[in-house]
Symmetry: C2
Amino acid sequence: MNDTNDATRRGFLGAAAGLLAAAGSAAPALAKTEDLVPAATAGIEPFWGMHQGGIATPAQRHTYFAAFDLTATSRDDVVKLLKAWTAAAARLTQGHEIEPFEQTDLAYSYDTSTTTTTTSSAAPTETKTEAPDSGEASGLPAARLTLTFGFGAGLFVKDGKDRYGLAQHRPEALVDIPHFPGDQLVPAESDGDLSIQACADDPQVAFHAVRQLARLAEGSVQLRWVQSGFAPDFGPGKTGRNLMGFRDGTNNPKTSDPKDMDAVVWVGTEGPDWMQGGSYLVARRIRIALEHWDKMNTAFQEQTVGRHKGSGAPLGMKNETDAFDFAAKDKDGNPLIPQNSHVRLAAAETNGGARILRRAFSYNNGAGFTAERWPPWRQGIEYDAGLFFLAYQRDPRTGFIKIFENVAKFDMMNQFVTHVAGGLYAIPAGAASGEYIGQKLFSRA
Amino acid sequence: MNDTNDATRRGFLGAAAGLLAAAGSAAPALAKTEDLVPAATAGIEPFWGMHQGGIATPAQRHTYFAAFDLTATSRDDVVKLLKAWTAAAARLTQGHEIEPFEQTDLAYSYDTSTTTTTTSSAAPTETKTEAPDSGEASGLPAARLTLTFGFGAGLFVKDGKDRYGLAQHRPEALVDIPHFPGDQLVPAESDGDLSIQACADDPQVAFHAVRQLARLAEGSVQLRWVQSGFAPDFGPGKTGRNLMGFRDGTNNPKTSDPKDMDAVVWVGTEGPDWMQGGSYLVARRIRIALEHWDKMNTAFQEQTVGRHKGSGAPLGMKNETDAFDFAAKDKDGNPLIPQNSHVRLAAAETNGGARILRRAFSYNNGAGFTAERWPPWRQGIEYDAGLFFLAYQRDPRTGFIKIFENVAKFDMMNQFVTHVAGGLYAIPAGAASGEYIGQKLFSRA
């Protein structure tokens, strides 16, 4: 059995090496077996461009996010990895598998002393052109897959060490996120040197993509933490509801409005050239105490959020898109939208105009033992579910950090939510065809 | 703040009590607020009938499975719970929220000493008819939701105690599943006295349903373990691929063929009356060592499975639905389909005709630290993903147990898969309108 495994592992590593070698040439030829052609061309998002996909892209239904620690010891190896990832991402997002290659030699290299071999009449032509792709997305459409690559602080400096000669290029905006009141970020499930956000309308397509990229990166990275998420389709033009039952995302910047995106999301000339057209991603796994939330009556929930649950309208208003009237008072002279409600504390008006692009998903990690943080302090198995908060901004210091300083201190919602994992990642500009993601950074001395 | 919580908790408990009281009358009137009407009537599965839904129902895209321990001390409380669950399930599966009720009194019962109240001009009519439903499925279609209730051994006897006077009615077929070679079932994530399998084409709809049922059951149950899963749509008439990249489910009994279903799935006159038209569910969370599997070349994977990866055809055949030829030999006289391949060991031919209805989903629980079970015994963060195996059968002794005894010992696939959670549940017959699930069992002396 060991012989078998060794033989096939050599086979795989050979294949992977071939891929890494081939990855330098962008947009490879798209030959593939008939069975592996995705359905039609519907739902394909562009890969090459001045911005990476998955930011301004209309939100997909599923995400799979992964953060990695770099184990590569040389800058060249990191460049090789980013070239391979770029080439593979260009294929995957277009509904193709990772680089196919002639596997003839490999397919028959395992130990022939086992019960049988495929050099028999077992239709050997079927395996001949099989790609190194793991195959579970074969037959699925591209499902609007986007792959968005990010650089954590550890790419630039790790444990005080400038591993890749990049320390001087760490952007000022890629700060160490301060600890906020209530933060319970688990270190093993936070940060990471590299990140990949895969979004698609199908969960298997999203996971498949990260899985292939992780395989290509073997020997250069170690998986650190991952999170999947979902965002159901509530219908055209409708704002979805998160697990709190409230509409979520009403006040987001318009991704179709370049002015909004330039103002809120894309790094401009204030950043280094490789970040211009890029952004900063704050990721947070926010566990929601759903059992606790569900005990609150609707009126209390509405006070906490600052919106009506049914319509999504700001308190005191009729329609979801009505503007907040933070000055409005009830007959007793109290603010209609409470001082400690979520929408008031998170609003641009309250935070000197600070805005972020939220690209949030719900997550469901099952259930686990929890000691509740609120009376009557029950202990038991409770849902490990909530919000996988992904937010893009031009500068986290004037975006998430500015807003969350306020929210973390005062938001009435905090008794129901706990930030348990997360990270900040510099999302470099997109790549033009023939370039690789991050090329301008690595071209610097 | 404590006052606030207490007040609302009382409010909620009042509501829940009302629901439990109302649950005795089946198929309640379906009044609801305009905002909460689900889109159209498409994709609604029937609830009432001789079989529970979610078994012969064409497989949905998502599942959320939950097992509970009963904490109820009296048989009456269990009956009350099952009545409430039945009434709520009848509503939820039809795309409605759980029983709406006039919440006027409750909506304003929290502590008015907080910053504001909704007795202000904050459109109080909006909260008036708000249901106790948590709301996150409001605006989503029914998404073919089915809810399938099961009874674990613990309902009949727990720690040697006949808590509800049901011990004598435990069906013979509801055995204690034996330990199989390689089983690593975590006790805290296995078994349970009651189970709910929610399946829907939307993950939020499935979770929403279990969440409402769990809320109704508060005080009578404690959540034990849960698992969500997904099964992408590979297109009409196509067999989906699981995370191993292979087509999965080709040889399943035809759910549209009553003869097949009677033979394989539905309990007949050999069982107690309350089980006739019911079935037995074996649930298993099967972690797949994807990183290990991905290192095997395609030919080795095909030998392990016994099918071609691309087409899904049995080894040596051209088409997915071609019959196995287990007698076929290659030119060296070796079996074309290896003796230790998965399909040969799991086939009815190998197991005295034993068959089960598989209703499998893939699962993705993120990633976690793992010590690999194979050379070179690496340790690190690896995917916690694989197959959430749900299988229905007329009798587990002649179904799963019979097949798995064989598979667990010899299957070459075992080096890649580990059963880490699971349970066996008696799935009672469906309920006619006006009955509750399990009524015939509880009507016995």
